[in-house]
Symmetry: C2
Subunit: 548 residues, 2 copies
Amino acid sequence: MTFKRATASEDALLRIFTLPEAPDSTLSVIEQNLSQNLMGFLKDSIVAIEKPLSDIERDFQQYQIPEMPQFVSDYTDDIMKNLVAHSVHTSSPSFIGHMTSALPYFVLPLSKMMVGLNQNLVKIETSKAFTPLERQVLGMMHHLVYQQNDHFYQSWMHNANDALGAFCSGGTVANITALWTARNQLLKADGDYKGIAAQGLMKGLRHYGFDDLAILVSKRGHYSLGKTADLLGIGRDNIIQVPVDNNNKVDVNTMRTIAHKLELNNIKVMAIVGVAGTTETGNIDPLNELANLAEELKCHFHVDAAWGGASLLSNKYRHLLNGIERADSVTIDAHKQLYVPMGAGMVLFKDPTFANAIKHHAEYILRQGSKDLGSQTLEGSRPGMAMLVHACLQIIGRDGYEILINNSLEKARYFAALIKQQADFELISEPELCLLTYRYVPKKVQLAIEKARHAHDLNTLTTINQLLDGLTQLMQKQQREQGTSFVSRTRIQAEPLLDTPSVVFRVVLANPLTTNDILKDVLAEQINIAAQDTQFLPKLLMLAASDC
Amino acid sequence: MTFKRATASEDALLRIFTLPEAPDSTLSVIEQNLSQNLMGFLKDSIVAIEKPLSDIERDFQQYQIPEMPQFVSDYTDDIMKNLVAHSVHTSSPSFIGHMTSALPYFVLPLSKMMVGLNQNLVKIETSKAFTPLERQVLGMMHHLVYQQNDHFYQSWMHNANDALGAFCSGGTVANITALWTARNQLLKADGDYKGIAAQGLMKGLRHYGFDDLAILVSKRGHYSLGKTADLLGIGRDNIIQVPVDNNNKVDVNTMRTIAHKLELNNIKVMAIVGVAGTTETGNIDPLNELANLAEELKCHFHVDAAWGGASLLSNKYRHLLNGIERADSVTIDAHKQLYVPMGAGMVLFKDPTFANAIKHHAEYILRQGSKDLGSQTLEGSRPGMAMLVHACLQIIGRDGYEILINNSLEKARYFAALIKQQADFELISEPELCLLTYRYVPKKVQLAIEKARHAHDLNTLTTINQLLDGLTQLMQKQQREQGTSFVSRTRIQAEPLLDTPSVVFRVVLANPLTTNDILKDVLAEQINIAAQDTQFLPKLLMLAASDC
């Protein structure tokens, strides 16, 4: 593609740092449109039918930074056509496959303000009031989890040396921060030994006499935990995946048995992780039982509530996370069900002195005694995203979240009931939060499975399951490409799947704009797609027929 | 503070997800103001004279999430007064203390568009065209550093299994990603040994027969490297800080000697790091010599060009970074001198297969063979910040950056000359990029230092230096509080400081709006502040007088 190119001059450059786009320019008009009607803008700008990725890539082939400047309006035309048109309408009410949702409109102008202010939260010299604001947000979220008293927050919230938590770009960095801190607390300085932060993992293990470290978590734990184990030098093999019960909740007794076996082999259980909202099914581990086990093992107890943490804002459903207040650290993402734009996660520490184990200083910032937030974060320079969390908490209020959270959970229960009413669908996981999984299995095939199961006919079961996997994958892809609605898919092992790893549809019902009618349409569309399949369905039906 | 509170209702909540603020509302009016005149908005909204932090904190004391919703306009009034008014005017032309700068205006509406699109770059299902766009940005930056041929980028840029780099929230995550990958490549799978990612650091060291790992870097290296060593389990003590020459460049011969000594002790040098733009002085290590050393040692060569990388866009000054193209990995921050808002860093890999050492998968995303960017990033869910880098590269163009970078470097040379003309200032580090350090030392005190130095009078030298440290700190703080201009400070050890760690002013001249007159005013203001000091200056002058 070729564009009109501007000429670089000092004056022209200074203008882009001082003057705004003319109000009738392409970018200004688009921005006004965006302000006045975000949902309309997205609906009109994003094309429904998916363009093949290889075609999209053709528009992003140039690898040389262009020599000459480009007019803003030309650039805007270009990205409206090549980028925006082929983006994903993540806030569409029928996009129910992932954890992105519609956003409250006020986050748009506030984001622009945040960008315009361009604060850097690593240090107070480049953020000033944003630093106490971020500490307040961490304080509010800490209180949501731990509900300490007035004196506690008076003492700790704005304390220079300690931290109620760390604001992060997302839940992965939050999980890493929690387990990094836990590792460093475990192998901390002791006599002549200066601690793992200074001397490294090997000397730490040697000093404390451990052969290795392990982290125990349900097999439904988020993939970021494996990444964390790799990063921290613990190794993915030492993230021990514990089986779950029929409700996708970790089996605490098995975890206990594994933990004792590890400790007998001189492998120290560094932490156990409770999942409060598994990414795939939305189930919550028995947090109180895990807290008991952590006490028995004298190990760190982390709760990954990246998804489920928002449910603490519902008085009606808060009880689902009972025991979370006993966790040493908790991850909560604001860019999930707090309805904040992408890029806002948090880790909270029960004990405000806990993060001292990862404290670091420099000469030009983060000096001893400063209130610079960067001395206890994994990231360095960071934007003022905490402002958007602050805005949502204040403007929506707990009462507002009560309605949003309850509606989403109840919508998931409605959808589960709907699926169960359909002869040709199987609900795989009941929703505990607003997530559920299911698959399309024609009634006749269900009967064939039943029969094969009774006859212990493993061959038939395997064949059927492979075909169903293919069908589910095909249906998910085709539905996405049609552009009306989107569900995601995953592969899980669960009791209704006869414990065979199988592909299932995965649905997240967080978008407040998703209606019951949309849910009905999603299933109707899937039935249509399946009916047209010539690759898997005929074979499945043939198998089922020959089987009768 | 008390506010009018709204009542939570389902209808009201749905409205905030669908309807925009009325055009004449507080927030809309502010947003229009922001669009029409960002610099005016910042100047008018941010109060000049600093409010004590403890007073600001009083406005962020509430630790309970409010029960009732709040009207957007009330919230806006509130944060304009409590947050925006006490933010830091990071884009002010006289804010020359840190690496934040004025932003080109078009990033504001584009940021809003990015937030409205709310793409999640971890996976293509929630980002589609943003994924090829991010790969293109990484390709362009890779080409800027490594200048490979057409065939190279055709083969690799959009390749599903490999990566030319990783987009990160900032330079710290970029540095961590580079060294994490280097560690994993070093201790990779080998025969029955499954590699460090799976089996952890201890088994990795044992398998390869190393007693420990070390990373060598100049003592001017960024503090994030210490944090990286801690996180990766290597330990801060194993980041070996190598002395620098009089130009703040690492002494490669000393580094070589240290490296050989380490290897004799069976400590494997995992990586050497070149600094291309030290944070404190802006100097660039001899990258070609470091590349030679890395070849000798058969170790990873990382270049931290978080700051200086942007200078590759200047044909005039690109040669300052000669040798960077021999690095195995390079960190560049876009939110520094590429003039992109906070939250945009990158690491680039010379070898596109390099990041396979940190590859990870999950069942519901990042599946084998997918083009999901998240399989080779430290972070998980991430916003589409790459779009803003893309916009700046296209709209400003290489020609535009040539002017911006050259002007900033030449402005630094002008300021250095100005400082040298002043009798009462000492230039501590000559600018190589657009950073420099200096301090205020009355001529008489300079003479006294000279005299004491010749007489080897260490006592007097120490006393003078302590007083100068106090004076510099006081001046820096007072200038910041007065709110007209801002320089930062650091403590460095350098030849003009007789190798005594001393406090100095630190200046970064990246803002295109900073004029020569502003620089004169900064010095004039400092002279004024010093003249009014009653704590350090009288003592210094007395010492200097008694000494004559």
